[in-house]
């Protein structure tokens, strides 16, 4: 049973690095170690679509990965209901065109609402751990900055206090870890490290940079006589290890599988590096 772990893991990185596959694999791994981990994805809680239609949810269910699906309006009306002490009023407020426009024009508002609800759930159940498959690069920054911005926007009053509480919770020691994913390509590695630096200036949260899709890690690759395109890939990886060896902690091997479920299962044994 793994006891030294965080409560909230945020998996981020530029688009296409494999966040979803890795998040699902990581959730599976944590569960295998006796940790009550759930896969969480904010983009799945789409305003218009009912929960059951979201692709990632179908995928996670198919793979038997425990997940938590949050609906934006439920989260928002839950919060407003607490403040106004009425569920009826809350439901009215969040359905108004004004509120809807507010949410859709200011994306950061969404994330603040989701994060708030996720933290509530973590408070209610001290065993619960979330693996958050977060939005790509720039938008992951939006997510954390939004919470900070809303403190600045509201300045005083209960909403402000609540956002402050949220932040101090997220920043509390041992609570959160941000895993920034990269690929073994120069541009990707640079970007991941840039993202990590930027995140450090926004939030005092522990973070790791992890390289996905490593070919050097593929079994037997060192013994093979490789064609040009593969040996070039290895060369680039060696370059990255040399230049960024200090900052990039782990390399997760590329999976030879082509079906999502199989890829995720291939990744599970390496997920201890994300803890």
């Amino acid at each position: 049973m793994l006891s030294d772990h965080k409560r909230l893991y945020i998996i981020t990185g530029k688009g296409g690095v494999g966040k979803t596959a890795l998040s699902l694999a990581f959730t599976k791994y944590l569960r295998s170690q006796g940790v009550k981990a759930n896969y969480l994805n904010f983009t799945t809680a789409n305003l218009e679509k009912p929960k059951s239609d979201i692709q990632e949810i179908i995928q996670a269910k198919k793979m038997g990965v425990p997940l938590t699906a949050l609906n934006l309006y439920d989260c928002a009306s839950g919060y407003v209901a607490k403040k106004l002490k009425s569920q009826t009023v809350a439901k009215f407020v969040v359905k108004t065109p004004f509120f809807k426009a507010l949410i859709s024009m200011i994306p950061g508002f969404n994330y603040t609402i989701y994060l708030g609800q996720a933290l509530e759930l973590l408070k209610e159940d001290s065993e619960q751990v979330f693996v958050l498959d977060s939005p790509s690069s720039g938008h992951a920054i939006t997510m954390l900055e939004a919470t900070k911005n809303f403190g600045e926007i509201f300045q005083a009053g209960s909403l402000f206090e609540d956002t402050q509480k949220m932040l101090s919770h997220i920043y509390s020691e041992g609570f959160t870890q941000i895993n920034v994913l990269s690929l073994p390509i120069l541009m990707a590695a640079n970007e991941a490290l840039e993202l990590q630096e930027k995140l450090k200036t926004i939030a005092p949260i522990e973070s790791k940079v992890i390289c996905n899709n490593s070919f050097a890690g593929l079994e037997g690759v060192k013994d093979m006589e490789l064609p040009n395109f593969l040996s070039k890939k290895l060369e680039t990886e060696m370059l990255i290890k040399k230049e960024f060896g200090q900052e990039i902690e782990s390399f997760i091997p590329h999976s030879l599988q082509n079906i999502d479920e199989d890829i995720v299962n291939d990744l599970v044994p390496y997920m201890d590096q994300l803890v």
């Binding site: 296409g16 407003v80 720039g138 600045e152 040009n228």
Partner: protein, 356 residues
């Protein structure tokens, strides 16, 4: 068969497929053909700057680049890394009012990661189009579902300025009072029996009264600039006109990209018609075919690559008529990468083309 240039060329797709470098190489290729080109990126991660060596302090401005490939040519290209704050300044300039620049809430939201990126991008595009300075504007969009935010932001603008708010705006518009705070206060007392007043009362209990006042100010400020926002709605029509724009949906042969591309095409159904071009990037077919595996393990790895690429082609051909294939470029340096892609644009291979 010519891949004709259109006034708008939009590169969409999920992240990590090479969209940014493809957009940049397309822009350079078009400039090589003699067109005046503007390349815009609205991707908050600002990857383009790495590719073309543009600095952060240039964000929000149009930068003229000469000889982007370092070939000693006189080739010119304009590039802009979008910066929401700069766009707001331009809106202020157009509406001859400083209010929008000075509003505290709008300022915060307009910060590069403040979340107004997509909406301001539409306006940025519209403003550049209005200049009539360029033959082609090539747009590199934010990856994945955030690109859908871009498409949806036009609707959001429409919703925000819809009939439900017209009462508020008309009322505020008729006010000729000099003081800013009294405007909002007067509004609050005058709008006696409307759902909106109720809503604002509730809102002030949750957020605090001072926020509500500032928020009303922000709304009023946006209203003053509404023409700029509403003009941008015309843009959507242009984007749906096949004579005015070409959409490139970029995907790559890497593992999880195909599913994402299919999801994206589902989500953007209205804009990505059958006449859109799909680019299958990072193809390895040529290189893989030349590989003669010497062990079972090597054969396994080779098969994995072959199978993957075949699967991609089959699935794409079932959904799209026009597919462009681009080969994987093995140059680590971004600029070299771009150069090779420019060559591929000049000399592209079409697979499964069924119409002209």
């Amino acid at each position: 068969m010519e891949l004709k240039q259109k006034p708008f060329e939009i590169f969409s797709g999920t992240g990590g497929v090479g969209k940014t470098t493809l957009a940049a190489s397309r822009a350079i290729h078009l400039a090589q053909q003699g067109s005046s080109v503007l390349l815009i990126t609205i991707d908050p991660a600002k990857r383009l700057k790495e590719v073309l060596n543009i600095k952060d302090q240039d964000a929000g401005k149009i930068v003229s680049i000469t000889d982007p490939l370092g070939e000693g040519s006189s080739l010119k290209l304009d590039v802009e890394l979008m910066n929401p704050e700069e766009t707001i300044k331009r809106i202020a300039h157009q509406t001859e009012s400083d209010d929008i620049v000075n509003n505290r809430i709008l300022k915060i939201l307009a910060r590069p990661y403040g979340g107004l990126n997509e909406i301001l991008a539409i306006i940025e595009l519209q403003m550049n189009m209005d200049k009539n300075k360029y033959d082609v504007i090539v747009l590199d969009t934010p990856p994945g579902s955030h690109f859908l935010d871009f498409l949806e932001s036009v609707e959001k603008i429409r919703t925000f300025f819809d009939q439900n708010f017209v009462d508020i705006f008309n009322y505020l518009g008729k006010k000729s009072s000099p003081s800013k705070t009294s405007r909002s206060k007067r509004f609050m007392t005058k709008v006696v029996s409307s759902g909106v007043k109720k809503l604002l009362d509730y809102l002030s209990k949750v957020t605090g009264a001072s926020f509500v006042e500032e928020f009303l100010e922000a709304v009023y400020t946006l209203y003053q600039s509404r023409n700029v926002f509403l003009d941008a709605l015309d843009l959507q029509k242009g984007l749906q006109d096949e004579n005015k724009s070409t959409w490139f949906l970029v995907t790559s042969v890497e593992q999880n990209k195909l599913k994402e591309a299919m999801d994206l095409s589902e989500g953007a159904k209205n804009l990505l018609t059958e006449k859109s071009w799909v680019i299958l990037n990072k193809c390895l077919q040529a290189q893989v075919e030349q590989w003669n595996p010497k062990s079972e393990r090597e054969q396994l790895v080779k098969n994995s690559f072959v199978e993957r690429e075949k699967k991609h082609e089959e699935l794409l051909s079932s959904k799209f008529k026009n597919i462009l294939r681009f080969s994987e470029v093995l140059r680590p340096e971004p600029l070299e990468h771009v150069r090779e892609l420019v060559n591929q644009w000049t000399d592209y291979k079409l697979i499964g083309a069924k119409n002209g």
